[in-house]
């Protein structure tokens, strides 16, 4: 039987913890929340039981709740997005006293709450989204300057999440307007080249698989969906237009989550899918390897019913350490889990 074992429970945040993530080497766990701080956690190598401990607190960057954090691919920069309408860039400065993070830039422009921030795989772009319904793409300049490269008003409502394709400069965004939009660069501007419609309510989050050819989405409608990319001229008879790929919903999983599904993480090593839900539970799925890739079925492997005491807001697979999962909740705690298959 597959299991998800709790490795440790991490107190510290003084309020709701909204988002968790990892650096790209999988050595640092990062979190942020209502207490306007970003916290960095690392494994305490001295302790026998391999616990994770908080080693840095980034504060004084934001005036309101921090909703989202993201490590740059080079691991030197952290971006945090806040309800104060700004996004802070924190840079690692190494001194005799160890590593320190300093807020070196503040990205302003959104009209109100910034909901999410994400670095592109190439490191050249940063994306933010907001309650003002827009998605912004920022270009990272050589001199550490961030220039606005596009303001995309494709969504008709609050945009909840932005996620980059794992290999290309393609951005996916999820919104309160029940859709997911895909963006790419064309000439000197960014354009929306796809709208994924199928959810009946807010799409809270989304995740690409390791190939970037499949996308998982989760929603307030209590379902999760898998979408597959079909290239122009594909042999499966899926129509495309304007020479751009079509993303088709190939799987809908309903009647599993009794409440809204707030986050979804697709492990790029194992292919496991983890969900964070409003019923306080964490669930692990995988695509049944026996199923038809054009109509896959999801197999539920594990449910941890009371993973947290309240809503689970975010889950993230460690990019390096196999089966290690982080989660965070309204209950002010983070947890680290180990999956055993």
């Amino acid at each position: 039987m597959a299991r998800l074992d709790e490795v440790c429970k991490l107190p510290g945040h003084q309020g709701i913890v909204w988002n968790v993530g990892w650096n790209h080497e999988g050595t640092i766990l990062i979190s942020c929340g209502e207490d306007k701080t970003v916290r960095l956690w690392a494994r305490n190598i001295n302790s026998e039981n391999n616990l994770w401990v908080c080693h840095s607190i980034l504060s004084d960057g934001h005036q309101r709740t921090i909703r989202s954090v993201s490590f740059s691919p080079c691991n030197k920069l952290i971006a945090s997005a806040s309800f104060d309408g700004t996004c802070c860039i924190w840079e690692k400065k190494t001194s005799t006293e160890g590593n320190q993070y300093e807020c070196t830039a503040t990205l302003e422009g959104h009209e109100n709450e910034v909901k999410c921030v994400a670095w592109s795989a190439s490191g050249s772009f940063l994306a933010t989204c907001s309650r003002d319904k827009s998605v912004w793409i920022w270009e990272v300049g050589e001199d550490g300057d961030f220039e606005c490269a596009a303001v995309l008003s494709a969504h008709t409502q609050d945009v909840k999440k932005v996620v980059w394709h794992p290999h290309q400069d393609i951005l996916a965004s999820a919104s309160y307007d029940n859709t997911v939009k895909l963006f790419c660069e064309e000439d000197d501007d960014w354009v929306c080249f796809g709208t994924l419609k199928s959810h009946d309510s807010t799409v809270w989050s989304l995740a690409f698989d390791s190939s970037g050819k499949n996308l998982a989405t989760c929603s307030d409608d209590r379902t999760i969906k898998i979408w597959k990319e079909y290239l122009p001229g594909n042999q499966f008879g899926i129509a495309t237009s304007d020479n751009t790929p079509t993303w088709k919903c190939v799987c809908t999983l309903s009647a599993v989550h009794p409440r809204a599904v707030y986050d979804i993480s697709w492990c790029h090593q194992t292919g496991l899918i983890a969900t964070a839900s409003g019923d306080d539970a964490i669930r692990i799925f995988r695509i049944d390897p026996e199923s038809d890739p054009h109509a896959p079925t999801l197999e539920q492997l594990v449910t941890v019913p009371r993973a947290h005491e309240q809503d689970v807001n975010s889950v993230a697979w460690n990019p390096v350490i196999t089966g290690l999962l982080a989660s965070c909740s309204d209950d002010m705690h983070l947890k680290v889990w180990q999956y055993k298959g």
């Binding site: 709450e113 003002d132 319904k133 606005c148 303001v151 494709a154 609050d158 309160y176 000197d188």
Partner: protein, 480 residues
Amino acid sequence: MATSSRFSSVIQLTDLDDFITPSQECIKPAKTQNAKPITSSGSAKIQIGEDGTYSQLNKEGRPEKLQKAQITLNDCLACSGCITSAESVLIGQQNHMEFLKICKDIELSLPSRSFDKVVVGLSCQPILSFANKFQIPPEEARAKLSALFRQLGAVKVFDVESFSDLCLVECGQDFVHRYREQSSNSTSIPVLASACPGWICYAEKTHGNWILPHLSEVKSPQQIAGVLIKDVLPNELQTSASRLAVVMIMPCFDKKLEASRSDFFREDQQSKDVDFVITPVEIEQILEELAIEFVDLGSSQIDSLDGTADTAWSVPSGSGSGGYAEHVLRFAAKELYGMTLEHVKFQPLKNSDIREAFIEKDGEQVLSVAIVNGFRNIQNLVQKMKRKKRTYDYVEIMACPSGCLNGGAQLRTESMETKALTANMEALHSKLEHRQIDDVKVNKLNHVWLGKASPEEHQNKLRTSYHAVQKSTNALTVKW
């Protein structure tokens, strides 16, 4: 990504908050026409009838029906609660149907009519939009549009560009004045053009006090035209300013916002400087309404301001938005450094919507101007200014990508992508006759119009001011 809005995207972004719909939660207090002050202590009782009307119980306990609150566009603009309703409020306030009705009323000499005469100003971008859509020469499109409005009853049809020179001359002088002042006034440079209401609305709502001193206070050609027409023409047309409807044909709905600013309402005449702004998409609807095909329209001349027969059409040299940056550079080069510029070339930077030009003296850059179009480039400029980085001396800022040629209410053809469309529009614009400001003409016009005006009056006619909108932060509107 097709948006159906006729506004610039900047307006769409600013404070649009669909969580508060105006009908439900508009925070503007309801003003009632015959609101009686409640003198007795205790609170008023309000009943909601089955038909949804509101009644207030009077002292005897009998209900009196309350007036429905009328929220004008100006209320919306001055309020930071929401502006979602702006488009619908606007359409109610000055749509083309209302314009048609006014034309009809005048034609029938109805006693209840609100205007006696109609004067139209045609801006070049809508003309080019029709020329492009119907594949006809711009001159022909211009003559057809003129014919349409004359058919509707316009007594005069002008080119808005014939008023541009007054605006441009003022822009040049304002800039030079501020340039000379820069050592003693830290907010005098850069000067940011203020002809685009989309940009002005954004600056007032989002950035407010720190940026407003940088805005050029010169009115746009649309508003200068309105003032001049209402000053000069009523006499000739034997009517009064308030009975003369000034109608401007413009490329975006944002220009309607501009026309409805309270700054452009004249108390003394109880009239707006510009009464109607009609856009190409609405002209199409008018044609449809009247069952007229555009191509079937006849042709008619354009009136000249000085009454001469010289009606050769030309537009100010420079961008399709009105050539502000180019004129300011030329004028300042001459005025400040005695240099006459033959050719002004704007160099694109990261994208074609940010272009700069500068002049050097003794190997040193002494003047720099830029054309900044579209929201992302505005953003970068504003953020640079905020971080106190050096930018330019003068910036022509336009909210629409590619500027006014690509205004939100220009005609789109389904088969043509925006890029190809703007390329076509730019090509059409570049082929028009481009003129440089003719000082003699401007002086003559100024003399006729402002001859005896005091400097203050002069200032009033040509300049305006801006007002920051206070942001309301309502904790209840937080959405995760």
